[in-house]
Amino acid sequence: MPSGRQFVKAMRLGGAIGVLTASVALAQDAIKIGVLEDQSGDFAAATMVKVNAITLAAEEINAAGGIGGRPVELVVYDTQSDNTRYQEFMRRVLQSDQVDVVFAGFSSASREAYRPIVNQFDGLAFYNNQYEGGVCDANMIVTGAVPEQQFSTLIPWMMEKYGKNVYTLAADYNFGQISAEWVRQIVEENGGTMVGEEFIPLGVSQFGQSIQNIQAAKPGFVVTLLVGAAQASYYEQAAAANVNLPMASSVNVGQGYEHKRFTPPSLKDMYVTTNFIEEVDTPAAKAFVEKFRARFPDEPYINQEAANSYIAMNLYKLMVERAGTTDHAALRAEIAKGDVCFDGPSGKVCLDPKSQHMSHTIFLAKVEADHSISFPTVWENIEPYWLGEAGCDLTKNDPSAQYTPSSPPPQQ
């Protein structure tokens, strides 16, 4: 829709000019925030809400006088669930739009596609998505949850309740492979057995053979790390074949709201660790959902990435106001103090100076037979400790690398 986009752009330009003339006395221009999220393609169902969350935060910030008196201006591009688009638009926002900060990315493949470009132009990017962990890069700030927050809580809890035989069904790319490695390690540490592990190429929608493999392996529960709309067909097909095993996941429900999209009881006994979903029953979460729905009444679901994107906007505001500048080194100096915190939709969260990842309160969400959500337990304030303990310290050096349990940072 080039014409539509141009129209929006023209409107935005008009708006920006309006803001500029109005605030000429302040002689300050807007803080430009690049937003690269998938608004079409395979991931759109889970990610369109992130753009709305960022818009909501930007409007709130502007209504309250901007960031340090400067209004916020969003530069939004649709990355179309396509890694090449991420690279193209990341170059565009950093080079020609000259944004101060970028909010970008859903899939880990897309993040790894754009990260070298952020490094090349020394940009600053917020990745507001749960992921497989391990990115130690000073140009990145990660507000999504990581394996020590989602798996170190979930897997032992599931093994206690449903036995020590575990089967992993994961998407076949960096996210699924590395997450499966985490699951494998945690299962072994807790004296369990991996009775099966299967990697599914993205875009696969037929699971007949996988369902049979799972039944043959007889696990206590299945860890589903399936990504994208096509792979989500698994739940319906497994339910139709009456597999009837509990499931554990770090991505379902909290991202793709499968419990709303599929007919009950296909997601019965799915357990997910998430830092936010719209069913969370805290006053802060309820207030967030209420104002979100007031602004975007047609939003299908307010997921954890929406909350993380909203939190990230507010953290950025806080950092810029404390530093008195949008300069990246100054902002990182603020993070290094270790007290950049925000009390938002998912409770109090803080940025960890060593890894530039965020602490989270993790809710265990259980999908009931009627697809309502209950919360059997909550883990308060889990730090993103793994990178720091493994040897990543961004206050000292910046390797700009991604580490995993089997390839940790080099020991000094």
């Binding site: 395979d42 169902a45 076949d172 067909s233 047609d298």
Partner: protein, 287 residues
């Protein structure tokens, strides 16, 4: 652990998917020669219509027929307005149908949002030898076979089928005998679109409903039709059987990735050795 039944079930499941997904394309691309990159969007149209009708309270079989009908009607309208100007211009038809596919995907995303709630798979499950299976999958296998038989009867044992084949093989001669070839093209294209819509309707209860869902059918459909060649019955049907054996065998042996690799390697080998596809090879002796 693998019983004969489970292997047969997986084979039948893969066969049904390949046949149902590719029949519409076999007519539009295999017979008529239009490289239809909007095939997946006809499938999506059938799926969305089916689910909408089912949610309005129509029984699922009727809803599926409705999905097929709507896709067929849209197909006929598109044939009249766009496709008919592109016969014998394969490269242009690629661009045009690709454009249609993008318009349909993005249009549905804007109009109906990023997802739609499904209807759930009917008919429950049954157990054989310690494994449980979805009954609906067996129904799909039956429908795949019925579809092949039905199309065979239509094209080879009805007057309309003979006229359709005559029109596509020798349009001038058909016109000389008084056939309204324009109408035949429209109806044949409509039938292809309706079969794609039927595929969408049949698989809608088992899948995620998103605007891009058609894409997951594309590789399998094209692979089946390319390996099959121009003739549905001597081409696409045996191609689907062979590919189903390769796919289910490779998937059972090494997982989904190898199932896909097997599928694609088979295409490379077949089009290298048999450029006319299976049907070209089978019919080669007769020409």
């Amino acid at each position: 652990m693998l019983t004969l039944f489970s292997f047969l079930f997986q084979f039948g499941d893969a066969f049904a998917f390949l046949v149902i997904a590719s029949m519409g394309l076999a007519i539009i691309f295999g017979m008529m020669g239009v490289i239809n990159l909007a095939h997946g969007e006809f499938i999506m149209c059938g799926a969305y219509t089916t689910v909408s009708l089912a949610q309005l309270g129509l029984p699922l079989p009727l809803a599926i027929l409705g999905g097929s009908l709507v896709a067929g009607l849209i197909g006929m309208v598109l044939e009249r307005t766009i496709i008919r100007h592109l016969y014998h211009r394969p490269l242009d038809s690629i661009v045009a149908t690709w454009g249609l596919s993008m318009i349909a995907t993005q249009g549905v995303l804007i109009a109906l949002g990023s997802t739609m709630q499904g209807v759930g798979t009917p008919l429950g499950s049954f157990t054989v030898g310690g494994f449980s299976y979805s009954t609906y999958r067996v129904v799909l296998m039956g429908i795949a076979v019925l579809l092949l038989v039905g199309l065979y009867l239509v094209f080879y044992h009805t007057r309309a089928g003979v006229i359709a084949r005559a029109t596509i093989q020798l349009p001038r001669m058909a016109r000389a005998t008084g056939v309204d070839t324009g109408k035949v093209y429209t109806l044949t294209f409509g039938l292809g679109a309706a079969l794609a819509g039927l595929a969408g309707g049949l698989y809608a209860p088992t899948m995620t409903l998103v605007p891009t869902m058609g894409a997951t059918f594309m590789v399998e459909s094209f692979v089946t039709v390319v390996i099959g060649g121009g003739d549905i019955f001597l081409g696409a049907a045996p191609a689907a059987a062979i590919l189903a054996v390769i796919r289910s065998g490779m998937t059972a042996w090494q997982g989904q990735l190898f199932g896909q690799i097997g599928l694609l390697i088979t295409v490379i080998i077949v089009i290298r050795l048999l450029p006319g596809g299976l049907s070209g090879w089978i019919l080669g002796g007769r020409k």
